[in-house]
Symmetry: C2
Subunit: 210 residues, 2 copies
DNA sequence: GCCATTCGCTACGCTCCGTAGCGTTGCGGC
DNA sequence: GCCGCAACGCTACGGAGCGTAGCGAATGGC
């Protein structure tokens, strides 16, 4: 989230180096084109044209359109702020998942994701980068929220964090990518409420860990 | 699952028409190529070459590689048998989800899915076809299993079927497409057991419906 | 055996990929 | 203010695939 310079920054900031300017121009152009047609219609030549940049310049920095799209994605994901302590595990989880739902729906991150998925299966390096920069962030945040809930005595202490993370976000991406349902409103709440009974302390101890 | 003729069929079956033979050759070639490199590396020209068929012949039947891949996918999905009555909702759900996990993992359907996702976002007709032929099947089957559980008095009668379907299969596809974890073993069981406490009758009636 | 359908084949024009070579510009150090 | 290097622009490739057109040949229903 640092490509386009904020207008509220001090105006006396040092002028950007040429290298940095082209970088911004390329990422901005990529962002625009992604918003218009997704990764499917994204072409390196198109980006070069819109950015007013030579195609070779792009290939000097990124290996291809996949890395380019990932760069934009990461740029957006890393702006995610951590979930505040709301004093209630359920509310925190809803806030957490709801934020992802909203971002996927209101920004072009959803569209970028749609176009990127197939490439993740093809390009191992891309997949590694995605998991290290996106999935890991989500898991870590899940851990923080759950740990707070455990500390409060709300949630079971034996929760499998990675599994919980998949249960929380799996439905979100399923709807985005496959079922095509509306990504909005109470969806995050519905997901969390479906999982809560199994997360709370007490109750019968079936053989579950999520 | 009707492209390749079974060897156990009566040998006196009428010889296939030329039109049908080419159809089979094309779909078989597509299947093989999908197994080798996924949809990403699938090309109409490659299919034509392997099938011993002219490229134009393929374009006369399908609009492009996407429709071709979908045809193969549908061919596999429609062979899915319904979940038998096991007398226990939890076991039935595990069997149901587990079957999807196994198919995605052991056949090339997982790979086809990976390559097809991005195209679903781009091509509305393809998405419609996929939802009508795949998602709908899953929802219907979910309804059957849940209804049996409700009839037995195990499950709550106010379960949102479509939501339940997303909660069950979302994590599966999330792992396949995004997180990259192993698609096997107890995963189906973990998913179902995480959701079961919210599906069973009795308990406190929070504001949940899944 | 007739004749419409279906298929094979060749040949396009097009877009995009990814790379190479070389001239040009900007930018920091001195 | 000058100089040298790094970064960039530009042109030109060869290649893969796409999707279409035109036409002749094989097929199979009637």
């Amino acid at each position: 989230m640092t490509t386009t310079r904020s207008k509220h920054e001090p105006q006396n900031a040092p002028p950007l180096a040429r290298s940095e300017r082209t970088r911004i121009a390329i990422l901005d152009a990529t962002r625009e084109l992604l918003a218009e047609g997704g990764v499917a219609t994204l072409t390196v030549e198109g980006v070069a044209a819109r950015a007013g940049v030579a195609k070779t310049t792009i290939y000097r920095r990124w290996r291809g359109k996949d890395e380019l799209a990932l760069a934009v994605l990461v740029d957006m994901v890393e702006s995610v702020t951590s979930t505040p302590d709301l004093g209630d595990a359920r509310r925190e989880l809803i806030r957490f998942v709801g934020k992802a739902v909203k971002i996927l729906n209101s920004t072009l991150m959803g569209r970028v994701m749609q176009g990127l998925v197939s490439d993740l299966a093809t390009d191992p390096e891309l997949a590694d980068a995605f998991r290290a920069r996106v999935v890991t962030l989500r898991i870590d945040e899940t851990r923080r929220v759950v740990d707070r809930g455990v500390a409060r005595g709300e949630l079971r202490p034996d929760i499998d964090i990675e599994l919980a993370h998949e249960l929380l976000f799996g439905p979100v991406y399923y709807r985005l990518l496959l079922s095509g349902g509306p990504l909005e409103g109470r969806f995050a709440e519905q997901i969390v409420d479906a999982l809560m009974p199994g997360l709370l302390v007490g109750k019968t101890t079936r053989r579950r860990r999520a």
